[in-house]
Amino acid sequence: MSAGTGSIRRDWQLTLPLGLFFLVFVFVPLALLGVVSLYTTSDLKGMGLTQYVKFLGDGFNLGVLGLTLWLALKTTVVAILIGYPLAYLYTLAPRTLQRVLILVIVLPLLTSAVVRTFAWVVILGRQGIINEVLLGIGLIAAPLKLLYTPGAVVVALAQIEMPLMVLPIITALANIDPNLRQASEALGAGKWRTFFEVTLPLSMPGLLAGSLLVFAAAASAFVTQTLVGGGQQMFMPFYIYQQAIQANNYPFAATIAMILLVSVLVVVTLMNLIGRRSKGFVHA
């Protein structure tokens, strides 16, 4: 007994190596990024909020920020709309079907996101399957421009990030006592009412966890945004890359990165707060 508590008291030292790594290679760099964002000129002279004023005072920059957050939000909604039913059906499926379904959900997550993005480039291209089918049945006369449209980015991202949504919802649904659903239906509530008043509220923690992951991933999905979105739509991640590597303007790139970081952090914190509230509501 005393040995157990003794070892528990001392083993905090095991966090030191990773703690040190994070301090030197995550915290210090992010702090430096903050400092660099405060330089007035691209050759690192003068200090002040010039870069932030420049970003927040310009319609184009605000548009890029707005477009990025809007894209992440739309992606999250689409991922919920198709991901939730899949998670729900998974919990109802017999064991053998579950084994197949879980691979269908997990394998895409393990597959390179560049490959999955490339798949959408092939599908949506001028000679892609959608255009070929529509031309084939005579619905259109010339290939539609599907790639490089806002809708294409949302659909591709929702598909690519969907497993991040489905897995936490499956966990949440699996934790719900099936008796609750049966009780609700036995007491006369229909399928829909039972779903909206029993199942959905109880699965809220999973739904929120999934939404957080999908939102954060969609906001920073550099590859999908650039390849499916094309050059006409600028999102924050490419803007950071362009300002740092192509324009060599590190202070402004750092400013964009800080603003993206803070925006994602704010949204994630808000969702977490809502999540804690909904949990309290469920337990009350």
Partner: protein, 278 residues
């Protein structure tokens, strides 16, 4: 009267049942098709005998796989480098992550919870910002970009996976086993090696596998931290797709998809990765 009321009610509930499962079934089916179809399209396209990514292809051949193997040293080198970086980053994050999980998994103290969310944060934050931040750090300290800087950047994003799966395995373990080993006189290290480690190995392996795949696929960090000579595979692929849509990109994708499916199914059998990803 009550008879017909019951009949109406049961019709209503039947309609409700039907619409409920209808809507959920259709949406769920769309989800399944969406998850599978893109991969299938890429694999079929990779066997085309033409020069374009037309789908369905006019004819089939292995020419693009041959082109990949015989005349694409830059792609093969990029793949090799990506594998080396992923292997190194994964190995180091296993050491760092398992150690930290041992200390954090069973602790309820506030500081442990905070530390845990800090270590998990790279999964939530835009990693592009971290890549740029590390580039700034290495520039200011006069450290040139190298394999080392790449591996450092990758460790930050691979460790969370290992921390998560190892912690989950540790929480599920019976604490009494460790306590009895310790009270019978086993040292902390001996207990870890003979009791704890064998029980958490599937969790660690699942985490290491997911971490390896995440590193192998990473663009955001590598974009800033690889030097001009060392190009990573996902970035090479990104350039190919962006520039000229070379059909070799489909062949590379075909190889990656096949490798992922084989490794994924094997790891699912051995370590139950899907349980560790929820």
């Amino acid at each position: 009267m009550p008879e017909s009321a019951r009949a109406i009610e049961s019709t209503a509930s039947r309609v409700e049942r039907w619409t409920f499962y209808g809507v959920f079934g259709v949406l769920g089916a769309i989800a399944v098709v969406l998850l599978i179809a893109p991969t299938v399209v890429v694999i079929i396209t990779s066997f085309t005998n033409g020069f374009s990514l037309k789908f369905p292809p006019q004819g089939y051949s292995l020419r693009w796989y041959a082109a990949l193997w015989n005349e694409s040293p830059e792609i093969l080198n990029a793949a090799l480098l990506s594998m080396q970086v992923a292997a190194l980053a994964t190995a180091i994050s296993v050491l760092l992550g398992v150690a930290a999980a041992m200390a954090l998994a069973r602790r309820r103290d506030a500081w442990a919870r905070v530390l845990d969310s800090i270590f998990m944060s790279p999964l939530m934050l835009p990693t592009l910002a971290l890549g740029l931040a590390l580039l700034v750090l290495f520039n200011l300290t006069g450290q040139g970009l190298s394999m080392t800087t790449l591996v450092i950047g990758h460790i930050a994003i691979t460790t969370p996976y290992i921390l998560r799966t190892t912690s989950a395995s540790l929480v599920q373990m019976d604490a009494a086993m460790i306590e009895s080993a310790r009270s019978l006189g086993a040292s902390a290290w001996f207990t870890f090696r003979t009791v704890t480690l064998p029980l958490i190995v599937p969790g660690v392996a699942a985490g290491a596998f997911i971490a390896f795949m995440a590193s192998f696929d990473n663009v955001a960090i590598s974009l800033f931290l690889s030097d001009a000579r060392s190009e990573m595979l996902p970035i090479r692929l990104w350039h190919i797709i962006e520039a000229n849509l070379d059909v070799r990109a489909a062949a590379v994708s075909g190889v990656l998809v096949a490798a992922t499916i084989v490794l994924g199914v094997v790891m699912e059998r051995l370590a139950g990765i899907s349980r560790h990803m929820r």
